[in-house]
């Protein structure tokens, strides 16, 4: 059975509709990629799943339970963690304080400070630094570590590669791949279509608030994707 599913999910910013009937599924242990141009609705979709935007209760199901429109805190307690676009680290907090805050809900599981430091040893050396004083790649590690501290079943990553050097992007996705081999499930939103195709098992493409293409990542052709992406 799928871990996360949405059925005919719609979302609005005030009067303007941003999502039009999104059907989306993630099975346990998968990495699913979500691609699309700027303004296609990817971030809106993630925000709705995480409880930052309202949704009908039955439109989003997680682990068999209807969770649409619950408060963000209730959703992270059920096991969905978001690595937000632009990382959104807390500037007044040190690296370690940022990580500790990620564990605020005290969900049971393997992730604690030591396990995050084992995954990203560089963070341990910098634990007392202000999180925003780190390099972009290290900040992304803090953001991932912070999300893992809530011991999620499903990790949602919004634009992990944004503003990072290709070698750092590779390192980050390698870490993510290892996590998913250990049983984590992930949804990634990615600007770089080639990266999205390489790291994911299945792929969704969005355009103007609708899903325009879905299928196994490796079997989709460049033409199919570009038609779904740009609509031409």
């Amino acid at each position: 059975m799928e871990l996360l599913s949405t059925r005919k999910l719609e979302a609005y910013y005030g009067d303007s509709q941003a999502l039009f009937g999104i059907d989306f599924e993630v099975e346990p242990g998968e990495i699913v990629a979500l691609i699309g141009a700027n303004g296609a609705g990817k971030s809106t979709f993630l925000k709705t799943v995480c409880g930052l935007l309202p949704a009908p209760r039955e439109a989003i199901r997680f682990g068999g339970e209807a969770i649409g429109g619950l408060a963000p805190g209730s959703i992270v307690r059920r096991g969905i963690a978001l690595v937000p676009e632009g990382r959104r680290l807390f500037p007044s907090l040190s690296v370690e304080e940022n990580l500790k805050l990620g564990g605020y809900v005290r969900r049971a599981g393997p992730w604690k400070l030591q396990t995050v430091y084992r995954l990203f040893p560089r963070l341990q050396q910098r634990r007392a630094h202000p999180a925003v004083a780190l390099s972009g790649g290290e900040q992304q590690m803090v953001a991932i570590g912070r999300a893992l501290m809530s011991n999620p079943q499903l990790l949602i990553c919004d634009e992990l590669s944004l503003g990072l050097a290709p070698v750092v992007v590779k390192e980050i996705y390698q870490a993510l791949g290892e996590l998913c081999r250990d049983g984590l499930t992930a949804v990634i939103v990615e600007q770089d279509v080639a990266v999205a195709q390489r790291v994911s098992r299945r792929l969704y493409c969005m355009q103007e608030g609708r899903i325009t293409l879905t299928g196994p990542s490796e079997s989709l052709t460049r033409e199919q994707i570009s038609r779904a992406y740009f609509g031409v």
Binding site: G73, V76, R88, L89, S92, K100
Partner: protein
């Protein structure tokens, strides 16, 4: 020379009291950018509360102790039921609502206690002094107030920097939405901050009532000193607030020494100079 030392010492001690007025305001601004224009009136409300409780119990210290849990609960509920609804990008709703609260408190106090000024009986502490040198004496109560201000500043800074609660305060202050994604409920965190600010208000009100007389209409002038101390010190820094209060106190002391009509005025001049020269304050912490 000694008279100058006297001016300086008395000014510093007065500054301790101003810092005590200002700490709660500094906390609210640091955590949720809330400017509570009823802050001074809440201090006066606390002073009258302590006055009544001290008549009941016979001790100002017991009165303060009893007032603390009431103040915390009052602050928590005020934030949860009223002020949380006023926060947002627009500062106007919170200003209008707290301004309205100020008027309500002043009139309520006048209705219950009349306009007569009152003082909390401190058991002679307000007149006790230590003679340090010829021409230099320090009042026991001002010294105690100063000590309380320093200790509470240090305590509040420790709470902010070192504890789980302080971490939650800083996180919601930095990025409320990201903090909610971590499972923090900002309404609860804000209410805890206001509860703690009201603990400081209770201490400040009781000590003010012991040191001098309080009347229902005194709130706005206390608010002004609190504001000035917070702004001189820099928004969101508690040690800055303490120093801001002391600078204000010393300047007023020097002003009084030159001419009795200059005291308060010279404090305002230093505040205006600070606004002109360092609008972000001496030790700004908030981003």
């Amino acid at each position: 020379m000694l008279s100058f030392a006297d001016t300086l010492v008395q000014g510093l001690l007065l500054g301790g009291l101003y810092a005590l007025f200002a700490l709660g305001q500094s906390l609210l601004f640091g955590v949720m950018r809330l400017t509570n224009t009823a802050h001074g009136d809440f201090i006066i409300l606390a002073a009258f509360g302590a006055w009544s409780l001290s008549l009941l119990t016979g001790s100002p210290w017991l009165a303060m102790l009893l007032l603390l849990p009431l103040a915390f609960a009052g602050g928590y509920l005020l934030q949860r039921l009223v002020l949380n609804g006023t926060l947002g990008k627009d500062p106007m709703p919170s200003l209008v609502v707290t301004f309205g609260l100020a008027i309500i408190i002043q009139n309520l106090l006048q209705q219950i206690y009349t306009a007569d000024p009152r003082s909390i009986d401190s058991g002679g502490l307000n007149t006790a002094t230590f003679q340090i040198a010829e021409g230099l004496a320090v009042g026991a109560l001002p010294l105690l107030i100063f000590g309380a201000a320093v200790a509470l500043t240090a305590g509040l800074q420790l709470l902010f920097d070192r504890t789980d609660l302080g971490r939650a305060f800083r996180a919601v202050s930095d990025d409320r939405e990201a903090a909610e994604l971590m499972g923090l409920d900002h309404r609860h965190v804000y209410a805890l901050a206001t509860g703690i600010a009201f603990l400081l208000v209770a201490v400040a009100g009781t000590l003010q009532g012991m040191k001098t007389t309080v009347a229902p209409s005194d709130g706005p002038s206390l608010l002004l000193y609190a504001f000035e101390a917070v702004i001189i010190g820099g928004m969101g820094s508690f040690y800055g607030t303490l120093l801001g209060g002391m600078l204000l106190g010393v300047t007023q002391g020097i002003g009084f020494r030159i001419d009795p009509g200059w005291g308060i005025w010279s404090g305002h001049v230093v505040f205006l100079a600070a606004l002109l020269l360092r609008p972000s304050g001496l030790f700004p912490r908030t981003r």
